[in-house]
């Protein structure tokens, strides 16, 4: 390691002010701090700092995503096998899927980090770590058949218009990964919905008889709940869907990691579930049509609910910053998901839209929480003043 450090120290002046490559300073800094935690020590205030930093935080989220990523890889192979009647073993399925997923991840990181580096360079900032997570989230919430150029376009759009124009990581108002998905959803709907997109090659080849590539949500929209996959299949994720979102089980492992490390807000996760269940149960009571009759807990297993609740809604930048606000925010996301699914058949999936909408409301929720806090403080003042 010492040789590597020496090498970096040797090259460093080239990238600093006045150096030959000073225009690449941010890029150099990003790689340097990736390899070595910097030697900066505290200059004001506290003399010691907690070991946690943004790189560690982001890497924990990436680790939490690994179960969903591994399962997603396997499921690509498994679903493909089902569709075309091919028998494969566990590892064959996994590698089949992994090879399909890898290009998506590479393109996502390549395009996203490229833009991050360039914009950090233009501003003369350090490169922030936000995209480490976003870059892996985006492929996981897309169908496997998405063309790479579309992915590249969506990532570019999301990073530039979702984040960089607001000032970069920490300043964006909407979840960047979901902006990428929303962009594709509205720009290229034929590649983002329907029965053909979720299973590799299903858009090119004819499947075996009787195979439908529809996701449970689509089945519900098109046909009836009688054909729905079993609870077991939906929970463990043996169903068509976006790459990372099918297995509620794998996502729950990730949720456990996020909650134990304290990096994801359990308040948001819990209140999202409560929100969805409450509206689901109310609909169950009326149950005028099949949608409304669908048992409330099905909503937790279908579509992007679990993935959204664990990895998207908990994004600390776009969620409310107050603890009370987080409860309200989560509850409303859960409620909106079920409402969109039931009362808006045009979009079978409500999670993306519910979270994006609540992202915009998050500031408003915070505003009311802060105003309430201030009012309470002021009241304390007047009570005392009268006494």
């Amino acid at each position: 390691m010492k040789t590597l450090r020496k090498y970096i120290d040797n090259k460093k002046p080239l990238f600093q002010k006045g150096g030959k490559f000073s225009k690449l300073g941010s890029t150099f800094g990003a790689f340097e701090t990736f390899l070595f935690t910097p030697n900066h020590t505290s200059k004001s205030g506290v003399h010691i700092h907690d070991s946690i930093d943004l790189k560690r935080t982001m890497i924990v989220v990436v680790v939490a995503l690994i179960p969903a990523l591994l399962f997603g890889s396997w499921n690509i192979g498994y679903q493909n096998g089902l569709a075309f009647g091919i028998e494969r073993g566990l590892f064959e399925n996994f590698f089949f899927g992994f090879l399909k997923l890898l290009p998506l991840i590479v393109v996502s990181y390549g395009v996203g980090l490229g833009i991050e580096f360039i914009s950090a360079q233009i501003r003369g900032h350090e490169v922030s770590e936000g995209f480490l997570v976003t870059g892996i989230l985006i492929p996981l919430i897309l169908p496997v058949n998405i063309p790479l150029w579309m992915l590249a376009l969506a990532v570019a759009f999301a990073v530039i218009f979702g984040k960089e124009i607001f000032g970069g990581t920490g300043y964006n108002i909407m979840n960047v990964a979901l902006i990428a998905r929303a962009f594709l959803f509205f720009a290229y709907p034929s590649h983002m919905s329907g029965d053909k997109v979720w299973i590799f090659d299903l858009n090119n080849k004819v499947p075996v008889d009787g195979f439908s590539g529809a996701t449970p949500l689509a089945q519900l929209a098109q046909e009836s709940s009688t054909k729905l996959a079993s609870i077991h299949d939906m929970f463990f994720g043996f169903i068509p869907g976006s790459i990372g979102e099918t297995s509620t089980f794998a996502i729950l492992i990730g949720a456990a990691i996020l909650i134990f490390t304290g990096i994801g807000s359990w308040k948001i996760m819990l209140s999202t579930v409560i929100g969805a269940l409450s509206i689901g149960l109310i609909c169950n009571i009326f149950a005028i049509n099949e949608y409304m009759a669908l048992p409330a807990y099905y909503h937790l297993l279908m579509g992007g609910f679990a993935f959204g609740a664990v990895f998207m809604a908990t994004d600390p930048v776009t969620a409310p910053h107050t603890e009370k606000g987080k409860w309200v925010y989560g509850f409303l996301i859960g409620a909106l998901v079920v409402l969109i699914r039931i009362f808006n058949p045009a979009y079978p999936e409500g999670m993306m839209l519910a979270i994006l909408l609540m992202n915009i409301w998050a500031t408003l929720i915070d505003y009311f929480v802060v105003e309430g806090h201030i009012k309470r403080r002021m009241k304390r003042f007047t009570i005392k003043g009268n006494a």
Binding site: M1, H47, I48, K326, V370, R377
Partner: protein
């Protein structure tokens, strides 16, 4: 009469190097100094010139706007240097002691019968006044103010902090005199916050409250907030226990006695212990050869959360009764963010220190990461036992929004109250620096 208050939020940072309860020998400091930068809300003007002979108790500095507030020499001797920095700012006034035991005399004989005004005058003349700090803002109190109450925190919960009970030692009666004097300064109450087991619980004429729980339980701002919160327009005074002793001694004997017991702590100290010294001693005389010298050391006057970075040629801070020596940590760590870091403490469960509750750590001054925009939320709230939204307060300061600062509670906090927020911050925000900037702005705007 006492009650117990449980502080639930907070964090005890477990560091190596707590002082053993023994007093070890130390060299007599060759020089003593007063540093104007220690005083908040004080605009220093010189009362002496180089080579003047001063007694213990002779004024060295006075405040430009309140000339009756003075800072005095802790020892008898000669003014050796007056060091100045940029724009001729006074850095310190250095006194070379000559071994004579001569003191300014103060008439304290009948203090029990004297009026509040004469006691204030005595405190001002004796140079003990700068120990009285007002809230809001944490600046030196104005002698003309009528404080609602006076608060004293009689223990210290900061990392490696000294045991106040041990520092007071057998001077409890003197401490009691100090309390009796202070009680005359307010028409309200005199509050003393203690740990439940403290031997000071027997003191009289003071409202004693017991505090349980982690740091910042000992921060006087936290105690005020949990007992009788400060509102706009309220003024309370605070004073540290060491200064209560100084006041007690003055009113007992009529002489100033600035001797103090300090703790020498930190992972780089060979045998952390207590030392007897005099206010304003040179760091070198105290640290001497007592450190390990294995790595570059950072010597802090005070504790690791709120202390000031110093070096051996510098002097112990006016309000400090502790020196902490930790590694500087100006080294690179290969992929540090991915390492298990079993030897580093963290509040976050993204590391493993929470699994080893008994372990103590050798923390260094490395930032452990780079400064970033705010990303994580809810961290500050976990270590601030106050009904305050800390991140919103900090943001209102960054936006120079005085109305919001007021509404969000800037009157209730000073740096030490929010120090832990800065420690736990993922984004390495300089919370204390920003807070002081906000306080200065409010002071300037509101007079």
């Amino acid at each position: 009469m006492s009650n117990t208050i449980k502080i639930k939020k907070g964090l005890d940072i477990r560091l190596k190097g707590k002082a053993e309860l023994v007093i070890r020998a130390t060299k007599q400091s060759a020089t003593f100094a007063i540093k104007p930068s220690d005083f908040k809300g004080f605009f220093p003007k010189l009362s002496v010139k180089t080579d003047d002979i001063v007694k213990a108790g002779t004024p060295l500095l006075y405040d430009k706007f309140n000339p009756e507030i003075v800072v005095v020499s802790p020892v008898h001797g000669r003014v050796a240097f007056i060091n100045r920095g940029d724009q001729r700012k006074i850095m310190n006034v250095v006194i070379e002691p000559d071994g004579k035991e001569e003191f300014e005399e103060f008439p304290v004989a009948n203090w029990k019968e004297t009026e509040r005004d004469s006691i204030i005058k005595l405190l001002l003349n004796s140079g003990l006044w700068p120990f009285i700090i007002q809230r809001p803002f944490g600046i030196i109190a104005k002698p003309t103010d009528q404080p609602r109450d006076i608060f004293i925190s009689g223990f210290d919960s900061a990392p490696l902090s000294p045991e106040i009970d041990f520092i007071i030692g057998d001077e409890t009666p003197t401490f009691q005199i100090g309390l009796d004097v202070l009680a005359k300064l307010t028409t309200g109450k005199l509050y003393l916050g203690l740990r439940p087991a403290s031997k000071l619980s027997k003191l009289s004429g003071v409202q004693i409250n017991h505090f349980e729980g982690p740091h910042p339980a000992s921060a006087v701002g936290i105690q005020i907030h949990n007992l009788k919160p400060l509102n706009k327009g309220d003024i309370v005074w605070t004073i540290n226990p060491q200064a209560v002793l100084f006041i007690g001694r003055l009113f007992k004997t009529g002489k100033l006695d600035f001797s103090q017991t300090i703790a020498l702590t930190g992972s780089e100290v060979i045998a952390p212990c207590y030392l007897k010294t005099i206010l304003g001693s040179e760091i070198n005389s105290l640290v001497d050869e007592k450190t390990k010298n294995e790595v570059t050391e950072r010597i802090i006057s005070g504790n690791v959360l709120t202390g000031t970075k110093t070096d051996r040629s510098d002097y112990l801070g006016f309000y400090h009764n502790q020196i902490t020596v930790i590694p500087e940590g100006n080294e690179y760590e290969f992929v540090g963010w991915a390492m298990p870091r079993l030897n580093k403490f963290s509040m976050s469960h993204a590391y493993f220190s929470w699994l080893m509750p008994g372990k103590t750590y050798r923390a260094d001054a490395n930032l452990n990461g780079e400064e970033r925009a705010y990303v994580m939320t809810g961290q500050y709230e976990k270590v601030l036992p106050m009904d305050i939204l800390p991140v919103h307060l900090i943001k209102s300061i960054l936006a120079d929004d005085i109305d919001k600062m007021e509404q969000l509670g800037i009157y209730e906090v000073i740096e030490e109250d929010l120090a832990l927020c800065e420690y736990v911050c993922t984004s390495k925000t300089e919370v204390q620096k920003i807070l002081r900037k906000g306080i200065n702005l409010v002071v300037k705007e509101l007079g």
